[in-house]
Symmetry: C2
Subunit: 343 residues, 2 copies
DNA sequence: CTGAAAGCGCTTACAG
DNA sequence: CTGAAAGCGCTTACAG
């Protein structure tokens, strides 16, 4: 075990190099001219001591922590993992590190985390908390600290804050429209109770029917208890039991689609020959059999974009509020096909 | 826009409460007695000002940052996302936040990140960099800073550091043993080139055969270019083309198994009726059809355990080096069955 | 029981 | 071109 040796400080470097700390600081930050002679001495001392500047101290003085925070429901959800990666990749280039806080969709946890977060004085915050009934309170708390904030997956009714969201309604519209063009008319809408995201996707479903001048059979509009595959399974079993007729499923997420595939497979119904299945988000479309057609959400890019906006705000850019609407992209794979003409 | 108003400091609170900063500090940290009269005044001032202590400053003085770092290849990989969550959940309880750094399996990135990390003086580091040829250099760099370190997924030959790893060899042994007991003899080993993890799993495969007194057909030992499903697909196609006979596949990861399922499905080979497929890790076993039998790795628990060890070290516990070997657990689902007796 | 003061490791006017 | 000194917002001996 080593002794409790302090790591070297700027003072140690200054002493060893025979210069002032101001000079050391200057050579490290290249923010004022230093004669090449001294520069060399300083570098030598840094080398010899294995000196690494202490950013905590630097941050205290400069009122900058070089840390940004991303608050999400759960890092284990591939959607947020991808957004996180996008954020990290752009933040890293500007020498910021990013801390992740999970809320598990709980308001209590959200505020608990927020208290911690604020004590750390991050230089910026990115928040994915669209589901929170208290999001406005969270936002104003952050604003009290004058910390730049950008929302990812924001609710539509929050204004005045930079935000970037998925165009769920139009994405769903496009997905369902695609199914309708394939000739499907009995299209299940497989959504989730009490989910704003799911209700937007349902709105798109309705819009697509409407546009084609078709009426909607309400019994085709299903709502599972959660986004978990098992929930979707149960919904499909129930629909089959009730003899509800359908030739296609529009699942409001890939996870729901996974459940649908499993239920259909279990009942010996062929996908896509008998029933087409369409997913939404693209998280699992690579690992299902048959490969899922889906509306791909570019989560990584969303993260990058959010980070870029945040960086601008941190740099002091105070131009008008930015709201960016991301369009999901349709990806057609093996789980959908045109309706079979009955002979 | 608000003016560039400073957030209130301990001084502001002291002034407003009519006490010294020492007293304010004492009531916040409850570390020395303060008369209830003053306590009340202080709380009142804190309330009125909306004061939140600045942890950066606190950290500078106490030489503690309340930040720990987890360095991983990629947060987008569900394995690391789960470990991360485990770490966060225990760290959060002790008021630490955790920053994530991605290395993309690159040594260059690893050291780049490490430099940043060290400048932030985290209170502890957890490192998943088993693949790095330079891991020992990374470790000694960290040790120079006297920062507690625990390794997750460590290589076996690194000693003297707390580490927690997966018992790959015995896990694979158990998986293959299970297939052998089902009557399979022609078992493909579907691994990956230049992967230490995969070679440990291959060793387990060999051990299982050996123990049963069976010899190994080397042509059954496949090595894909990567862990991506597509790579596995190609390997399986190649095996089929070469008329290699097999009744089971032992995939060294679930992602490889996903590729195998796809290739087999594509060639009209029934799983599990004609070929059984066994995965490893459990990341995708919930979304495949048929559901994959696999060796589940408890990543979340590994993260928790790593964090708990780290916390102990941060608290100054200097008892002997801890090495923990995590055993994967067999999960039997639908992708495996006993060999069909040929009539 | 409480306050004045030094100091954590930096940056940055201010002199010279 | 470079250094001495003040200060970022806390904590903590040291007095009293």
């Amino acid at each position: 075990m080593q002794k409790k040796e302090r790591t070297p400080t700027i003072k140690d470097v200054a002493k060893r190099a025979g210069v002032s700390v101001a000079t050391v600081s200057a050579v490290i930050n290249r923010n004022r001219f230093v004669s090449s002679e001294l520069v060399e001495k300083v570098f030598k001392a840094i080398q010899e001591l294995g000196y690494h500047p202490n950013r905590i101290a630097r941050g205290l003085k400069k009122r900058q922590s070089f840390n940004v925070v991303y608050i999400i429901p759960d890092i284990t959800n591939p959607i947020f993992a991808s957004v996180t990666r996008g954020i990290q990749d752009v933040m890293e280039k500007s020498c910021y590190d990013v801390s992740i806080y999970n809320t598990d969709f709980s308001d209590k946890k959200l505020f608990h985390q927020l208290t911690n977060v604020l004590e750390n004085r991050p230089d910026g915050i990115i928040l994915s908390a669209w589901h929170s009934p208290e999001i406005k309170r969270a936002i104003s708390l952050i604003q009290q600290f004058n910390i730049p904030l950008v929302l990812v997956h924001a609710p539509r009714n929050v204004e005045g804050i930079d935000a970037i969201f998925v165009d769920d309604e139009n994405g769903a519209f496009e997905a369902v429209n695609y199914l309708l063009r394939l000739g499907h008319r009995k299209v299940l809408s497989l959504g989730v109770k009490n989910s704003t995201t799911s209700s937007l996707r349902e709105a798109g479903y309705r819009k697509a029917f409407k546009k084609m001048g078709l009426s909607i059979e309400e019994k085709l509009v299903l709502k599972s208890d959660s986004f978990a595959p098992q929930s979707a399974c149960l919904s499909i079993y129930k629909a089959l039991k009730s003899n509800i007729n359908f030739t296609a499923v529009f699942a409001h997420s890939d996870s729901l689609a996974v459940g649908a595939l499993e239920a259909l497979n279990d009942r010996g119904i062929q996908v896509p020959e008998e029933v087409s299945v369409m997913g939404f988000d693209g998280t699992y479309s690579f690992c299902t059999l048959p490969r899922l057609s889906t509306m791909l959400i570019p989560n990584y890019e969303m993260g990058k974009k959010a980070a870029e906006i945040l960086l601008k705000r941190i740099a002091g850019n105070s131009s008008g509020v930015i709201r960016e609407e991301i369009k999901p992209r349709i990806v057609i794979q093996k789980s959908t096909q045109a309706t079979q003409k009955k002979p």
